[in-house]
């Protein structure tokens, strides 16, 4: 470890920074208690939201000072990371960074830098945002630590394979690919699982080499136990929305999900979600609804529209529509039953082969049908995300089935998860208003 970097890390990431973030959290909590920024249609955010925000901010703060102190791995959102956490890596999720840029509405500015470097506007806007940040050195989180290792898992898309090739070239560091064959049918064939297992073993070997130490079975199990517990708690939180009225909206979930993605093997994450579950239960006991006048309950499919999260939530809430479930936030809950802390390697193979994005379009429809029943849903909003093809392909047939045999109004809303240039406020408002009318007519 570089002693100067170690000292800076200890001061900034462990003492001064966290103190400042704590103060910011206390201030946010006080503001929330005073009712600042309340909406007439939406319940206030959960009381725990500032704590969640603080935890995520601390993670990025730590990243700012991690260089030379901890080994850093940049990983895809669906990557098997339990062994990396157990080996002490600091994990950075470029997709989460891009989402932060989207929410902060700086994504287009950054994407433009990537486009000027030759990256087409037809590429995933997360990629353009992150590459733009890399090329321009601009980021809302202060500074991104240079990776020592890159890990790309194809269980969300092939895009990440190309994206990480670009990163590998840029940083000149080892890239590990965990290629998870797409599951077209019900089950992944045995040779596919074996192939994934071999790659996980190879990934562990590379990670051990970079970390300079061997993976201990004990810490691997400990991290897997926490991952499992955190995902179970997350699933329970989501499932509390089966209650009518729903205690939290999918829009809240989009924000509260950051730790389950980037910090899921940590003890603090388990504590956070346990506390969050208690608060959600308290809301249920008090009859508190995420949409004050909940009348219609709907499902959100695909990534959020990060730069219009609040605006879309308000627009719908005004029309008494509560978005109570989403296939996107559900994806991290779905991991829970697969992770077996007693057999971390074997269970990781299944857990990371079966995410919704690595399964067929019919499977996704099946999941949506199940959610419609479980969450008592009246309709579905399918965000047709221009630059995320793996999530969006199949939606036209899914909409057809949902509105046909299932008789649930289903709206295809054209937008993009990070690129505001693909979103027209007026057009979206008109489409959502028409959707509200369809829900009304269906009653």
């Amino acid at each position: 470890m570089n002693p100067a970097a170690g000292l800076a890390y200890a001061c900034n990431a462990r003492v001064l920074g966290p103190a400042a973030l704590r103060a910011a959290r206390l201030y946010a909590e006080r503001q929330a208690r005073g009712g600042a920024g309340r909406s007439p249609h939406l319940a206030p955010p959960l009381r725990i939201a500032p704590r969640c925000k603080e935890m995520v901010a601390r993670h990025w703060l730590e990243g700012r000072h991690a260089q030379g102190v901890r080994k850093v791995a940049w990983v895809t959102s669906g990557a098997p990371v339990e062994f990396l956490t157990a080996l002490g890596f600091y994990l950075l999720y470029p997709e989460n960074h891009a989402a932060i840029c989207g929410t902060a509405r700086v994504a287009v500015d950054l994407a433009t830098a990537a486009e000027e470097a030759g990256y087409s506007r037809d590429l995933c806007s997360y990629v353009r945002t992150d590459l733009g940040s890399l090329f321009s050195g601009r980021t809302p989180v202060g500074r991104l630590p240079r990776p020592d290792l890159l890990l790309a898992c194809t269980n969300i898309c092939q895009t990440v394979l190309f994206w990480y090739r670009v990163l590998a070239e840029h940083f000149g560091v080892p890239l590990v690919i965990v290629d998870t064959p797409f599951v077209y049918g019900e089950e992944a064939p045995p040779h596919a699982l074996q192939y994934v297992g071999t790659q996980i073993d190879e990934a562990v070997a590379v990670a051990e080499k970079v970390a300079g130490r061997a993976l201990s079975a004990q810490s691997f199990e400990r991290v897997a136990t926490r991952s499992r517990r955190a995902t179970e708690l997350w699933l329970e939180i989501l499932q509390r929305n089966r209650h009518m009225p729903a205690p939290i909206s999918a829009f809240d979930q989009f924000v509260l999900m950051a730790p389950i993605v980037e910090l899921r093997g940590q003890a603090a994450t388990v504590d956070l979600y346990a506390a969050m579950l208690r608060e959600v239960d308290e809301r249920i006991r008090r009859g508190m609804a995420s949409v004050r006048e909940e009348k219609y309950r709907v499902l959100w499919d695909n990534l959020p529209i990060w730069y219009r999260l609040r605006a879309v939530a308000e627009l719908l809430a005004e029309r008494r529509i509560a978005v109570v479930a989403s296939t996107y936030t559900n994806a991290w809950g779905e991991l829970a039953p697969y992770l077996d802390p007693a057999r971390p390697r074997e269970s990781m193979i299944r857990a990371y082969t079966y995410p919704i994005l690595n399964r067929g379009t019919g499977h996704k429809l099946h999941i949506m049908q199940g959610m419609i029943d479980d969450y008592h849903l009246d309709g579905v909003i399918l965000h047709s995300d221009r630059s995320c093809k793996p999530y969006s392909l199949g939606q036209m047939d899914q909409r057809e089935r949902l509105s046909g045999s299932l008789k649930r109004p289903a709206l295809l809303l054209e937008a993009d998860h990070n690129d505001m240039r693909c979103y027209a406020d007026e057009q979206a408002a008109t489409r959502l208003a028409a959707f509200a009318e369809m829900l009304e007519a269906q009653r």
């Binding site: 030759g118 994206w163 070239e169 290629d179 379009t361």
Partner: protein, 362 residues
């Protein structure tokens, strides 16, 4: 210019094969395991779009931001264009083909069986065994469909025979500068491998190779990269300008001409062969591997510039463009990107860009 050997049109080849009692497999991009299909009596016929179909049929299943190869393939199927086929093979080459395969299996459910085939992207030790097993499963599925059960050595013979076909295809690419063929004819010849039975292709290729002359290339020469040389009017435009494509790096062209495998197990051999193929976007090759390969092809062929002929919305190809162009720039090789939709005629804008490149080639 010399005369192209006679090449039967696709419809006629399909009709003839069916009349002989054979079955036809429609194979979507990018890689067709021809030997295996032939061993089970299928004639592999590749479907790169095709261009100029009525896309409204596919529009009810696919969003407009999907590439025209996939959109046209689905439209072609829905409008009856694949009625004379008995199997649809959908290799997993990209997110869009993944989506198409899944939509076909789960929603469209055409009359023909739809069989997906996953190609590994890992550089690790498990890739060869995985692909060999994928191919074994494909064989099992074809056995169920056709009730045929060729023995392993029979399949191996098909593999060895198709390797000869590929060797000839490679020879044509290598001999391009010596072949007195127009660009349009050269591409008609090499792309006939997409549907001709191997035997017929070999006859045409051998005939063409006898036409070799001492370097017949004009002064202005190009390398063509990208997806597929459609619309074919691009070739006519190049011929008019007396420009020859002396090297090819298209997805449908040389980029998938793989070296022979070594194993005596046909499935392992096919897998080895595929894994030894040239660097390619749909395999997720490293940027350096692709750049080095492209630069070496430019140097070996004497091409003076590069045309990237892109299909709009093709993510795999778009990702590599900036580094490929940078690598070419370092070598002082000019390049241009022409982005097309399979259904559009060659626009004036595309021609202007092409001419701008040609002006840079003295």
């Amino acid at each position: 210019m010399g005369a192209l050997p006679a090449i039967a049109p696709r419809a006629e080849v399909i009709r003839h094969h069916r009349q002989q009692g054979g079955q036809v497999a429609a194979v979507l991009p990018v890689y067709a395991p021809r030997a295996l299909l032939r061993a089970y009596g299928f004639l592999p016929v590749e479907v790169w779009g095709p261009p100029g179909v009525r896309t409204s049929d596919g529009a009810s299943h696919l969003q407009p931001y999907v590439c025209s190869i996939v959109r046209n393939a689905l439209s072609f199927l829905l409008s009856g264009g694949l009625d004379s086929t008995d199997l649809i093979l959908v290799p997993h080459a990209c997110d869009s083909l993944q989506g198409l395969g899944s939509i076909l299996l789960d929603f469209v459910k055409p009359r023909q069986p739809v069989v997906p085939l996953y190609f590994p992207r890992s550089d690790g030790a498990g890739a060869q065994g995985f692909l060999a097993e994928e191919l074994r499963r494909l064989a099992t599925r074809m056995g169920e469909i056709t009730s045929r059960a060729p023995a392993a050595d029979e399949i191996l013979q098909y593999v060895v025979d198709e390797e000869t076909g590929d060797r000839l295809l490679l020879e044509l690419h290598e001999a391009r500068r010596q072949l007195p063929l127009t660009n349009a004819d050269f591409y008609r010849l090499i792309r006939s491998r997409e549907y001709l039975p191997r035997e017929a292709f070999e006859t045409a290729a051998r005939q063409a190779l006898t036409m070799r002359q001492p370097d017949a290339a004009p002064a202005r020469t190009l390398l063509l990269s990208g997806v597929v040389p459609e619309p074919t009017s691009l070739m006519a435009a190049l011929d008019e300008r007396q420009v020859q494509i002396v090297a090819d790096d298209t997805l449908c062209g040389r980029r998938r001409v793989c070296p022979p495998g070594r194993s005596s197990d046909p499935f392992e051999r096919l897998s080895q062969s595929w894994l030894g193929g040239p660097p390619d976007s749909t395999r997720g090759s490293s940027l350096a591997a692709r750049s080095n390969y492209l630069v070496s092809r430019v140097k070996a062929s004497g091409a003076r510039g590069v045309v990237f002929h892109m299909v709009k919305f093709c993510e795999p190809e778009l990702f590599y463009l900036p580094s490929l162009r940078k690598a070419l720039q370092r070598e002082g090789v000019p390049s241009v990107v022409l982005e097309v939709d399979l259904n559009d005629a060659l626009s004036q804008q595309v021609l202007t860009r092409l001419d701008a490149l040609l002006e840079m080639i003295p």
